[in-house]
Symmetry: C2
Subunit: 224 residues, 2 copies
C-alpha cells in the first residue's frame, strides 16, 4: 500500500515546524489545505495526530500553535530512547523450550504448553556509564523470524506496540546480586525495576520484560 496523503502532509508539517519557536502560530487549516493540495479533512487528520503527539496545540476559534518541545509525548521512553549516545551490550541470548515458572506465568503459559521463548539480556550504557539492565522474554512465534539475528530490530519494542498494548509496573527494590557489578550499584541501594508486558489485541501477552535502572544515572520519565 502506498503512503497515504495525510502521512506525507504530517511529515511535511513536522519538518516545517522544526524551524519555528514554541507558541508560534502556523497556517490555518484552510490555507494548509490549499497550499498542500488536499482537502481540509485530510489536513485535519495530519494535525490531529501532531496534536495528539504533542507537536502542536490548538486554541479554538483562534489557531494552531507550535508546542514546546519538552511536551512531546514520550510514553515509551523507558525502552526506545532515541538517544544516539546509548550503547547496548548483549549479556545473554538464547532460545529455550522451558523457563522458570515465574516467567511462564507472566506470559500465561504452563510447562504443559508447547512453545519456545527467546531470551535476551542486555546492559545499556550512556557515555560508558551503566544505565540499566534489561531482560526480555518473547514468545517465538509472535516474532518476525527475520529479526531474530538482528538484536536492534528484535528489541525495538515500538513495533509491537502498534498492533497491541503494553502495561508497565514500577517496583522499588534492591539490585539483584548478579547485576550489581554491571550497574555499579551497591547492594543496599534502592533501585527501580520496571516490569512490562506486551499483549496482542486478543489480550494474550507475548513479551515480558524487566529492567533494572541505575538510580544514580537514569531518571525514568514519561510524558502523556
Amino acid at each position: 500500500m502506498r503512503k497515504p496523503i495525510y502521512v506525507r502532509i504530517k511529515q511535511q508539517i513536522q519538518k516545517e515546524i522544526e524551524n519555528k519557536k514554541a507558541n508560534d502560530v502556523i497556517e490555518s487549516e484552510r490555507l494548509l489545505s490549499k497550499r498542500l493540495g488536499a482537502s481540509r479533512m485530510t489536513v485535519r487528520k495530519s494535525l490531529d495526530e501532531l496534536v495528539e503527539e504533542g507537536y502542536l496545540y490548538r486554541k479554538e476559534n483562534v489557531g494552531t500553535f507550535v508546542a514546546d518541545r519538552s511536551l512531546r509525548k514520550r510514553n515509551t521512553s523507558l525502552l526506545s530512547d532515541n538517544d544516539a549516545n546509548l550503547e547496548y551490550r548483549l549479556i545473554n541470548f538464547d532460545v529455550k523450550y522451558g523457563m522458570k515458572n515465574k516467567i511462564l506465568e507472566k506470559l500465561n503459559l504452563t510447562d504443559q504448553d508447547s512453545f519456545s521463548i527467546i531470551r535476551a539480556i542486555r546492559l545499556v550504557l550512556k557515555n560508558d556509564k551503566p544505565q540499566q539492565v534489561e531482560e526480555f522474554y518473547m514468545i517465538r512465534n509472535y516474532i518476525n523470524e527475520k529479526h531474530i539475528n538482528q538484536f536492534d530490530k528484535l528489541l525495538d519494542l515500538s513495533q509491537y506496540l502498534k498492533k497491541g498494548r503494553m502495561t508497565q509496573r514500577f517496583i522499588p527494590t534492591k539490585v539483584p546480586p548478579k547485576y550489581a557489578a554491571s550497574l555499579k550499584v551497591t547492594m543496599d541501594e534502592p533501585i527501580l525495576m520496571i516490569e512490562g508486558r506486551i499483549f496482542d489485541n486478543q489480550g494474550t501477552p507475548f513479551i515480558y520484560y524487566r529492567s533494572y535502572n541505575n538510580p544514580r544515572e537514569k531518571t525514568v520519565e514519561i510524558t502523556i
Copy 2:
C-alpha cells in the same frame, strides 16, 4: 455548545459493548452509520476514539472487535484511580505566598515572582490500608476558584490534562520519616516516589505533585 453527535455515538457504543465478550465482532461502520443515523465519518470518529482508548480494536478488511477489558488505557492510574474503595484523608491544606525553593524551581518560579500556591497533602487508603501519601502544589491563578473548597474536584488531575500535558518521574527512595507512620512502612524499606508536573500548552508548569507509594499495598501500573 451542545454535545456533538460523535460523543453521543461513542457513549452509545461504549454502553453496547459492555454486554459483549472480548474479541466479539461489532457491527460494521456502514451498518452503525445506518442504524444510528449518522454519516460513516462521524461513526468512524467515535470508533477511532474507542480504539485509541483500548475499548475496541480493528482488523483491516475484516471488522471491529471488542478488546479485552484489561487492555483499556490507564495511563493516569496513579492519581485518578476510579476505585470506589478508595478513601482520602486530608492531612494538610493551605494557600501560601512563599514556598521552599525546591518546590518553586519545579514550578519555574523564584521568590521574586508574585504568586500564591495551594498546597494539599492527603493520605489515600483502600479498605483501611494506607496506599500512598500525595503532596500537591498548584499555582492558584491556574485553578478554578470554585473548586478550591472542594478537594475532590480540586485534586482530580484529569481535568487539567485535557488542555495540557503531564510528565511523571519514577524514583526509588526511602520513606520520608514524617510519612513512615501514616504509610505503616519501616524506615529502611525502599518505596516508590512519583514526581509529576502538569504544564499548560505554552510549556509552563502549574501543578507539581509527589506521591509516596506503599510498596506492600500498591502496585503502580500504567497501560498505554
